[in-house]
Symmetry: D2
Amino acid sequence: MRKVCFPVTTRGNYGKFKPVMQAVKAHPELELQLIVAGGALLHKYGDFVEDGYLGEFEVDKKIYFLLEGENPITMAKSTGIALTEFTSVFENLEPDVVMTIADRFEELAIGTAAAFQNIPLAHIEGGEVSGSVDESIRHAITKISHLHFPSTERAAERVRKLGEPAKSIFNVGTPSLDVISKLDLDDIETVGSDLRDKGVGADIRLSDDYLLVIQHPVTTEYDHNRRYIDETIEAVDDLRRPTVWLWPNMDAGADAVSKGIRVYREQNDQDFIRFFTSLPLEQYAVLLNNAACIAGNSSSGIRESAYLGVPSVNIGNRQNGRQRSDNVVDVPHEAERIKSAIEDQVEHGPYPSSSIYGNGNSGEKIADILAEFDFNIQKQITY
Amino acid sequence: MRKVCFPVTTRGNYGKFKPVMQAVKAHPELELQLIVAGGALLHKYGDFVEDGYLGEFEVDKKIYFLLEGENPITMAKSTGIALTEFTSVFENLEPDVVMTIADRFEELAIGTAAAFQNIPLAHIEGGEVSGSVDESIRHAITKISHLHFPSTERAAERVRKLGEPAKSIFNVGTPSLDVISKLDLDDIETVGSDLRDKGVGADIRLSDDYLLVIQHPVTTEYDHNRRYIDETIEAVDDLRRPTVWLWPNMDAGADAVSKGIRVYREQNDQDFIRFFTSLPLEQYAVLLNNAACIAGNSSSGIRESAYLGVPSVNIGNRQNGRQRSDNVVDVPHEAERIKSAIEDQVEHGPYPSSSIYGNGNSGEKIADILAEFDFNIQKQITY
Amino acid sequence: MRKVCFPVTTRGNYGKFKPVMQAVKAHPELELQLIVAGGALLHKYGDFVEDGYLGEFEVDKKIYFLLEGENPITMAKSTGIALTEFTSVFENLEPDVVMTIADRFEELAIGTAAAFQNIPLAHIEGGEVSGSVDESIRHAITKISHLHFPSTERAAERVRKLGEPAKSIFNVGTPSLDVISKLDLDDIETVGSDLRDKGVGADIRLSDDYLLVIQHPVTTEYDHNRRYIDETIEAVDDLRRPTVWLWPNMDAGADAVSKGIRVYREQNDQDFIRFFTSLPLEQYAVLLNNAACIAGNSSSGIRESAYLGVPSVNIGNRQNGRQRSDNVVDVPHEAERIKSAIEDQVEHGPYPSSSIYGNGNSGEKIADILAEFDFNIQKQITY
Amino acid sequence: MRKVCFPVTTRGNYGKFKPVMQAVKAHPELELQLIVAGGALLHKYGDFVEDGYLGEFEVDKKIYFLLEGENPITMAKSTGIALTEFTSVFENLEPDVVMTIADRFEELAIGTAAAFQNIPLAHIEGGEVSGSVDESIRHAITKISHLHFPSTERAAERVRKLGEPAKSIFNVGTPSLDVISKLDLDDIETVGSDLRDKGVGADIRLSDDYLLVIQHPVTTEYDHNRRYIDETIEAVDDLRRPTVWLWPNMDAGADAVSKGIRVYREQNDQDFIRFFTSLPLEQYAVLLNNAACIAGNSSSGIRESAYLGVPSVNIGNRQNGRQRSDNVVDVPHEAERIKSAIEDQVEHGPYPSSSIYGNGNSGEKIADILAEFDFNIQKQITY
């Protein structure tokens, strides 16, 4: 029995880990270990443990590592704290494989903690480009990982070029599509009623032609985040359409983004926006699928919306270099441009589904490989 | 004035940083910042500050980050501590460039602390292969660095293949050769008299045909380090030639290596070995240059000895994949093989000098580039 | 010039430090050092630096030490982080005296960091009893402090009994009364207009007969905090009077208290409460002075309200053992009892001013003593 | 079953914990938990786990917390690290009582970690005075502890005066006497042969009239430690009697003391001293009992030597304020005074046994109390 350890730190990575965790749990030769940590433990981002998001999964350990402050200094120090904390927990849980995903700062800490203890490291979503310190983190994690699960052909090719052995690289698609592919995305009633119990603000119906907005801070353009969010707010305020707005995640700069939203809420009488702090992927997918358009800089505006064919307006540089399908229009942080792009996309309506990010069976693929892969802990560059 | 910050953590990296620091200090457009940290502050490895090794350089800040224990757990936690500590110090010193070197665990912490604060990072000796977690660290540092100073053509080529922009890569050779090229390596008397005041054990003369031994722990073969050192000790004990032995550095496994040496010293009456805990490069170079043979797994048995043409017996996997000149013979951790390789090399005598690791002017080259390089903090992979 | 270092970590301790800091700054033989840290740096508690609360004072250093989570585990770990961080900062600032105050967990870290470096430690508000781990912290700080500024006669007597030398103990009163004694507490207009720009919710006038509510978590009764706040909410909701409500501070349990308040706000249509996250003492004092009654478990319901003669309803055990004047009525966490006590106190109206907590000149007294006190770093118990 | 957790961090505290641990292990209502941490894990101080000192006891968890450097800065930071690490381990082990002892810096961290999680804390050897920051630490631990086991009547009285409830204070004597009282202290042969296998230097017999020397650093007189050890070395070197010398423990200043000893050893040809790094109490007690005189500043020169009647020369201020029996002569750090005091004590010969530190049954007493004590986690000062 190989023990496969999943450190869940945000709703975003949980959404992608979940189908893999289900497949690992169901696999006869694998044992699931679950660590809930960082943002996933905080009420303000939606506490996974208390709020029941984790469903069937048992938590082996909780780790608090986020230093309050949400700026580059606390991001770096939180990474240091995460490294010392995950080291202890891996020492206790003795996993046979540790899973990392994408490019958040804590993923580098998790990967380092595993690699320094000679525990094999598997990385989901390596090989993508994003044009910020996140990208540096992503490639650094690739270079300390022993097994790679990129989610597109182009990403797999990049991992190979980075000097990783071809036999350690598997293009399995994005696991978040697993969840989406199994949902009844047209079940507006159940989800709609769930959503009415959450969030605050206007009463938005899934049957409305609503706009979905998610704008995260851009960590490398730290000082501009307040202006960036204000531009988007101005566009949305001008449009005056039914809007669902999700709060940003906890990266450096989140304070500025949150403040912008809070100031707008407190100083304006508007009755067309509903705010949510966090949603499980099951609800989020229905929300996205039924949106007239998604706007902001979330990766779901690139990936999941490609699969679902939702018109997407991607704002600014945060998703630079990520593979796009036809449904995406890129605009800079300018209210006027954002506004008109949204108008155009709403008018265009749904796009055909694209499979550049996979077909919804990543979880099983990953679990099968995890069970059989012959890890070489003494990795060496291929050239 | 660009402020260039050098974090000195071991005698090894100081030996390489020193000529660069001198060139930076002398450069009209650069300002030198010096952090002394970790092993460089400890008496047992030779305290740089107290023992006067730093000579002309002023210390801006000291950082203690090494957790006692010298095993994979403390190595990982020390990295976490280093990350939080260097973050504070960079916040205070506000450097314009941070220097990292090679592949030690703390270099990853130093690099991460800089990159997360959007401070440009320059890396010396990227692109080499070493076949252990150190290699993963080295390439991970490359992926978060903005400027690269590899020390051979092959290393430069690897950095380029790793997706770093060609214009950010400069093959400048190994800076430690700068020091060596400026020394009077035949000045046996001054150095010899200095050495007699240091170390403990037999009275070895530089005019003797002595053997030089340096064996560091192999971090990825943690449990074998005691056996490895014992094999080498057996070979040296059999040879009974004049021998100069340097204590290992502080990586995980150092305790086992040290214990092996201590046990041998306490249980055996031998009168042909002199032990040193730490030597400045100036003295070390003379010691190496006059050695009949160097044996062990130090990188100086590959690099500096290539330049100096000293016969070298490289033991085990620690230096796997590092470019070699003709002067190196590789043997496994077996006493008999080690012994006969040393005998052969001593008989062979000196080799011709090789320039695969440069020509002794790396410091000036690096300083000039640091002064003029146009940093792109928003780095992106080239493919 | 003696350098006197003030670590400001909450609005509460800043309110008390401020008059002392002013007196230190004005004193010819003293130099002020200011560290802003922890909760005082966070937007959610009101960022002191950005929000301009610090006025005339320059910040020497910021320290982030709060691990997100607000439970006993993160409280303990935050204390550990604070200890390592303050150690570095004291090493850099080289203060001649470090100031601590009261009984928060970070004060123990601050005191330990100073004492271990043999920096004299002065403690304001030692010798009080509060019946929880806070009390243990307070007395532990007394035992590592070299100079004591208790705020009542009874507290001074306790410090003496704890084995501290009589000549190191000075009953100077509570410094927060300094600020209050100098304010024009009847200047309803200026402050009222300031307050209308802050906070969210109902439009409350200072001329209204409003209720002031502040309920902090009780760290030793961690699991009960949600129930405690719900009882208070029920009482306030029943009363339906004009109410000003201040958010709790960041102790373990704050999440539960905040959630209770948030749930109430989101699920109830009420139009008689205005919420504030943080207020400078100058505005808070006017708010308190004009209140018909203060209810909750803030120490200001005991101390400042004694001086101002404001009717106070103290709920639960958090203020147990603190010296009370006649204006305080104690009730348990029961909605019915809270409600009727508030009604009685409002009916009773203002009480005469009491001087058990001093007369408003603590700052000058403390500064004078700090300038002249002959510290004995080698402290020894008196019996 | 009450789970009683012992954090063992030095040979010194293990010597005292051991009889208590044996009694706890044997008690039907108690369960033993053992954490080995800090200095107890390091080879240089004698690794408890590897070297088999722990005998019958199983280790539940290891904790590394010592930051290398051995100065006030690393002492403070190590305390911070210890606090965060012990917090995690207590969270996992869920002890019902945590044991602390005496006054080392990590004991404050251990106590704080327990108290902040509302785990009852028992403290052995509270109420003693020692005239340095250690004393502040000791009394601070008393103020956060819930159960007290002072080792003399005077110490118990001090704990009571510190405001602790009389019913929580038990004068049980020093547990290290338990071990000694059960040993055959005249069994010179077994122990003598054991000792010949350890240590380095001259061949000293237990039948010799040898001098026993242990000199620890004085943390509050940090800069003087090198001079202090040099004075003692000079005295011992002049005396030229058979001498057994134990290395100092790891407090701030240990580097200076160790260096003094090392320099003396390397620069002098002497053949009358045998050095030991660490000894189990069983062997140490025989060594002490047979010594003609003990000299230095170890507490065993005050306590155990009182019970054994060994002539003792106590040097300097480290043991100031500790209760003495007639066998102790105090001298300052002056070679001449040290030398003549040792000569006088050797001439005087053995003293009668004293019971001021108990009679050798502390372990059972403590275990019985631990099993039955009614802890009040909500402690409050008695006055």
